[in-house]
């Protein structure tokens, strides 16, 4: 019962925010709708009993990635983008010209057929999920597996993070020589003081 309510609310949140995210022409609003999608996906993970993955989803995406995207959009000017498509396609946000749209329709057709083929047994699957109301915490097993069976993957990902940290430190390292504009400011300041 509770799992069903959670599933309905989360999937509604995901679908509606997804549509709004695609539809809006303001990049900043898109980012905020993306926030809704990501929180909804966290809810979907919860319905599958993956509590740790759900918390990590919120931690990584809401706390890190979305803020980063908001920063990036703001610094690059997140104004309303005029639609750059041709006449009939003006309804859609800028996605390309008529050739890209033709390709898109073709790919969507193939992809849709595949999805329908995969999900033809969808309703029988849903019945299975409804009957499954048990919930086992995943975090203990995750912790065990991370330091036993998947130790190499764990260590390699930590090396990746270390690389990112060192790279960020190198980029942010202050240069030895002083930029020219600081000298100008200091000179101006001295001039002002002399006048006074």
């Amino acid at each position: 019962m509770f799992a069903n309510i959670l599933f309905s609310v989360s999937s509604l949140l995901v679908i509606s925010s997804c549509i709004l995210m695609m539809w809006t022409k303001n990049l900043m609003h898109s980012c905020v709708y993306l926030l809704g999608v990501l929180i909804g996906v966290a809810g979907l993970y919860l319905t599958l009993g993956a509590d740790f993955v759900a918390a990590t989803q919120i931690m990584v995406y809401v706390g890190g990635v979305v803020i980063l995207m908001l920063f990036a959009v703001m610094l690059t000017g997140g104004k309303d983008y005029q639609s750059q498509t041709q006449k009939i396609l003006n309804l859609f946000p800028s996605m390309g010209n008529k050739y890209t749209f033709m390709w898109g329709v073709g790919v969507a057709f193939v992809f849709g057929c595949t999805l329908i083929y995969f999900f033809r047994n969808l309703f029988s699957v849903i019945k299975v999920i409804e009957s499954d109301d048990s919930y086992t915490p995943t975090i203990e097993r995750l912790g065990e597996l991370l330091v036993t069976d998947h130790l190499v993957a764990f260590e390699i990902s930590s090396v990746l993070l270390l690389g990112a940290l060192v790279g960020a430190a190198i980029i942010a390292r202050p240069r030895k020589e002083r930029p020219a504009f600081i000298d100008d400011i200091v000179d101006d300041h001295h001039h002002d003081e002399e006048h006074h």
Partner: protein
């Protein structure tokens, strides 16, 4: 269902009768609804009283009297303030981003209020004792940063934008020492749920994790300083620095929308203080196991947590009115050059301590088996 407040109350006879007639599912829903509302009201009131405490204590520290007109000792000032907030005109700048401008205060408050779900007020007065409790609390409270940033961006004012950017960068940066310090306690306790984290700290103050080993003692101060920065409190209140940014990210907000930002801040201080009490200062435990196993015990535990949290709340306000504000570069260098390395050092040190002394605390080592 075992680790939730509904599971606890369903073990009482009257509630069981209710569950028989209404069904277990609906009764649990009713219990959850009632206690969510109750905790929300309590925290909102605490947030309101936080503003009074702030004004009264700051007045004390500056040898003034402070608000003393409304009610005894000016205690009802929060009602007057609330009515003022609600009845003020809701102004929006003409060039503001309407959607984001309306959304931002709610996101900010939402992030704080969602952490109530795992707040351990007592052993059983915890809405749900999630397996990933403290991790969930860190994760969901990062929504506050999004709210602050969007508030700053949407107002379309230079002061707000600067405040919002400072807020977001500050909250992201200081999450690292906070998380590393929490990892240290998780390492000792061996679990992420709040009841596991608090369980070993039962009894006398020397069982508290702050006195577990020298690293946790340093860790408490690292945690406290970092949480000050995460809640945008002075001396880290750069996002709302009055002397340079007018009021930072909420410069353009008026009426109840400003009120929501302020309420979120004061509730967040309480929540963060409660988390530090649970992690380091013994949580809800009371000595000698008074009235073990009865409902009065839960009330006493609630009181214990509340008192310690209020004491920490006082310190937060005290710090605010004592220290001058930092510069942005000082803020960042404190986080990245001092707190983060110290936190990593603490984490490694605690791990070595646990291996070397088989997880025993300092008191345990000095005085034999220790008192439990």
């Amino acid at each position: 269902m075992e680790n939730t407040i509904a599971g606890y109350f369903l073990s009482f006879a009257p509630v069981q009768h209710l569950a028989d007639s209404l069904g277990v599912g609906f009764t649990s829903f009713l219990i959850f609804f009632a206690f969510c509302t109750l905790f929300l009201v309590i925290l909102a009131t605490v947030g309101g009283f936080g503003t009074i405490a702030e004004r009264k204590i700051s007045a004390d520290l500056q040898a003034r009297i402070g608000p003393n007109r409304v009610g005894p000792y000016g205690l009802f000032q929060l009602i007057a303030d609330g009515i003022k907030m609600i009845s003020k005109e809701d102004i929006m700048p003409r060039s503001a981003d309407k959607f984001l401008y309306y959304l931002a205060p709610f996101l900010s408050l939402f992030g704080v209020v969602c952490t109530i779900a795992v707040m351990p007020f007592s052993k059983n007065l915890i809405l749900t004792d999630l397996n990933v409790g403290v991790f969930y609390a860190i994760a969901i409270s990062s929504l506050v940063g999004v709210g602050i940033f969007l508030g700053g961006y949407a107002s379309n004012s230079k002061w707000s934008l600067l405040g919002g950017m400072r807020g977001a960068s500050q909250i992201i940066s200081y999450e690292i020492p906070v998380t590393l310090t929490i990892m240290m306690i998780v390492l000792i306790a061996g679990g992420l749920s709040f009841n596991t984290l608090v369980a070993e700290q039962a009894g006398m103050p020397w069982n508290w994790y702050i006195f577990h080993n020298p690293f946790t003692f340093i860790g408490f101060f690292v945690f406290f300083i970092s949480t000050l920065a995460e809640t945008n409190r002075a001396p880290f209140d750069l996002p709302e620095a009055e002397s340079e940014l007018v009021s930072g990210y909420h410069t353009e907000y008026t009426g109840i929308r400003f009120g929501l930002f302020a309420l979120a801040e004061y509730i967040e201080i309480f929540v963060v203080s409660a988390v530090s009490v649970s992690l380091f200062l013994g949580g809800y435990h009371i000595p000698f196991g008074l009235l073990e196993g009865t409902f009065s015990n839960e009330i006493l535990q609630f009181g214990s947590l509340f008192l310690k949290t209020c004491a920490l709340y006082y310190v937060v306000i005290w710090v605010r009115w004592t220290f001058p504000r930092l510069r942005v570069d000082q803020l960042m260098s404190i986080c990245w050059k001092y707190l983060t390395p110290i936190a990593i050092f603490n984490l490694v040190g605690t791990a070595i301590w646990i291996v070397a002394f088989d997880g025993r605390s300092m008191f345990d080592l000095f005085f034999g088996s220790g008192v439990h």
